[in-house]
């Protein structure tokens, strides 16, 4: 039986860029283990010769002409930004 430990949960939370509390880590450990256990039923099936389906329709490399087009202005792009400066998105410092 797969059990997802609290440490694993914390690792995954970091990958997903989620801040979680100790209590949440415990809860996710239980809930994710339950869901993973539930999904173990897929191992009843032998899929060694089955191609995975990533897309249901048979289409490949759909391309359109690479032409420059009017889309949105810089001003519009910044309209919903939480913070901005000099026409650019502003974020808190990356390094101390």
């Amino acid at each position: 039986m797969s059990k997802i430990s609290k440490d694993q949960v914390k690792h995954v939370a970091n990958l997903a860029r989620l801040a979680i509390t100790e209590k949440e880590a415990e809860k996710y450990s239980e809930q994710l283990s339950d869901i993973i256990d539930f999904s173990e039923q897929l191992n009843e099936l032998d899929t060694s010769n089955v191609e995975p389906t990533t897309h249901v329709l048979d289409m490949k490399n759909v391309l359109r002409k690479d032409e420059p087009k009017e889309w949105i202005s810089k001003e519009d792009a910044l309209k919903n930004a939480p913070d901005q400066q000099d026409g650019q998105f502003k974020v808190p410092s990356i390094l101390d």
């Binding site: 997802i4 694993q8 949960v9 690792h11 995954v12 939370a13 990958l15 997903a16 860029r17 989620l18 801040a19 979680i20 996710y28 809930q31 994710l32 339950d34 869901i35 993973i36 539930f38 999904s39 039923q41 897929l42 191992n43 099936l45 899929t47 089955v50 191609e51 995975p52 389906t53 990533t54 897309h55 249901v56 329709l57 289409m59 759909v62 391309l63 359109r64 949105i72 519009d76 792009a77 309209k79 919903n80 930004a81 939480p82 913070d83 998105f89 974020v91 808190p92 410092s93 990356i94 390094l95 101390d96």
Partner: protein
């Protein structure tokens, strides 16, 4: 009789004969919303000023339903479809301040070109993750048939609004049943088109290989009319298919003679309510009397669909929702000291329980060392589920079963138990995994709680025409579309 008991065709005739105006129609919609939305709680944002202005312009321009197939028709839009200049939140706190989106989804452009009038934005489970609309971070939508019950989800606001007669039609989106299941719970018609049929450009992505936009309406005919407007290839969505869009409304001949129906025994297994089964069997009898034939078949991999779906959908969601980072739009945490903090706190404060759970599950399934065991395995089982349908469709025209195992449940009943909530989607999920079209049509009421039951009709890839033809023939013979809920305590 309410104005919205009429079909699009009938409403347009009334416009043509100057019995009504577009302004009158639009005002009627807002009047219904004001009278019933305290109870139903379907709308998140109203577009009243803009809609009335547009109505006036349409009235001045004069009716032209030939050129503009949805001329003057009021419509409600699920809040995960991007509407230029109209708040679009996905019922999430992280987008609760997105008041001025920069562009229109392709379906919105198409609706505008057809001269439909956007009444407002409808509640949903946050980022379309849920089956009851209880995962909305904004409000709890109620089922118009009995407000103790959920409307289903995730397009619960869309289905409830149409059922309550607030708008005659709405758009929803369906990733694992999110149009069909709420349509079933609310006694209206909901279509999930073939994957690739409708452009996903501007539909905020949940699971990109499964998501489709679909119409929710009172009648099959109206549903067909809306799909024929919003369908078609779009250069902004490379997964939209280059397949001609037929006039679905012309497929509604009422003729099902010789139609071959497959009825999967797996759709009648334990967990499916006995009365739901009885209603579906009665519906099959109605179709049989009209000359269709049905046989029991097996879709042997159906029972693996829920586990397959939650792996694939959560994995895709974890990637899609990475874009909500507090940098370019949406909410940024005020408590962040550095950039990493800003990502983590903005996301933790902005996303609700279910969304975080699925991001966690998906990130786990895609993480190094687990990818093959979980994500790839699920994609392989997806192939088997798809092949089940391909084999059945070699011999049969449509697959029929219930839409959901039960009728609507009560608000609060299942919210604390993710796996029970997920099991609710067991009959709708295989359709998304296979990418085929499916519709839910009302087929009766449960004798114990008087809540609506839905019949699901599933077709071949890009054969929405047959699905609509069968749904329409059944609907007209059965007549449940004439029933409507009594709001305002007059049950």
């Amino acid at each position: 009789m309410s104005l919205f008991d009429y079909t699009i065709k009938e409403l347009q005739e009334k416009l043509n004969h100057k019995e009504i105006t577009v302004t009158y129609l639009v005002k009627e919609s807002y009047k219904q919303i004001r009278e019933t939305d305290d109870e139903v709680q379907a709308f998140l944002t109203l577009n009243e000023e803009e809609a009335l202005k547009q109505a006036q312009e349409l009235d001045e321009a004069g009716v032209d339903a030939e050129q503009f197939p949805l001329f003057g028709m009021p419509i409600g839009i699920k809040d995960n479809i991007v509407t230029k200049g109209i708040r679009t939140t996905c019922a999430s706190q992280i987008l609760s301040n997105l008041d001025d989106p920069l562009y229109d989804a392709t379906v919105m452009t198409k609706l505008k070109n057809a001269k439909a009038v956007n009444i407002g934005k409808l509640n949903m489970d946050e980022f379309a993750m849920g089956s009851s609309t209880e995962n909305s971070s904004m409000k709890t939508t109620r089922n118009p048939w009995n407000t103790d019950y959920v409307p289903g989800g995730s397009s619960g606001g869309s289905a409830a609004s149409v059922a309550a007669g607030q708008v005659p039609f709405a758009l929803g989106s369906d990733t694992g049943g999110s149009v069909r299941q709420p349509a079933s719970y609310c006694g209206v018609v909901g279509m999930k088109p073939t994957y690739g049929r409708v452009s996903r450009f501007g539909l905020v992505a949940f699971a990109s290989s499964l998501d489709q936009i679909g119409p929710i309406t009172r009648t099959v005919e109206d549903n067909a009319r809306i799909l024929e407007v919003i369908a078609g290839q779009d250069e902004m969505d490379s997964t939209s298919a280059n397949v001609e869009v037929p006039k679905y409304s012309e497929a509604l001949t009422g003729d099902v003679k010789g139609l071959k129906i497959a009825v999967p025994k797996e759709y009648f297994r334990e967990g499916v309510d006995e009365k739901v089964k009885e209603s579906v069997r009665a519906a099959l009898k109605v179709l049989e009397e009209q000359g269709a034939e049905w046989e029991e078949v097996s879709l042997p991999h159906s029972k693996y669909a829920v586990a397959t779906y939650y792996m694939i959908a959560s994995s895709e969601a974890s990637a899609n929702l990475a874009r909500f980072d507090g940098v370019r739009y949406g909410k940024r945490s005020e408590n962040a000291k550095d950039m990493m903090d800003m990502f983590k706190l903005s996301r933790s404060e902005g996303f609700g329980e279910e969304v975080k759970r699925r991001i966690m599950l998906g990130t786990f399934a895609l993480s190094s060392g687990y990818y093959d065991a979980y994500y790839k395995k699920a994609q392989q089982v997806r192939t088997l589920i798809k092949q089940d349908f391909e084999q059945i469709f070699e011999k049969y025209d449509v697959v029929i079963g219930p839409t959901a195992p039960t009728t609507a449940f009560k608000v609060g009943e299942k919210i604390d138990d993710p796996l029970t909530m997920y099991a609710n989607d067991i009959i709708t999920i295989p359709v998304n995994l296979a990418g085929v079209p499916g519709i839910s049509v009302p087929c009766g009421f449960h004798p114990d709680n008087q809540m609506p039951i839905g019949l699901q009709i599933i077709g071949k890839h890009f054969d929405e025409s047959t699905v609509y033809r069968v749904a329409h023939a059944y609907e007209q013979a059965a007549g449940y579309y004439k029933e409507k809920p009594q709001l305002g305590g007059a049950k």
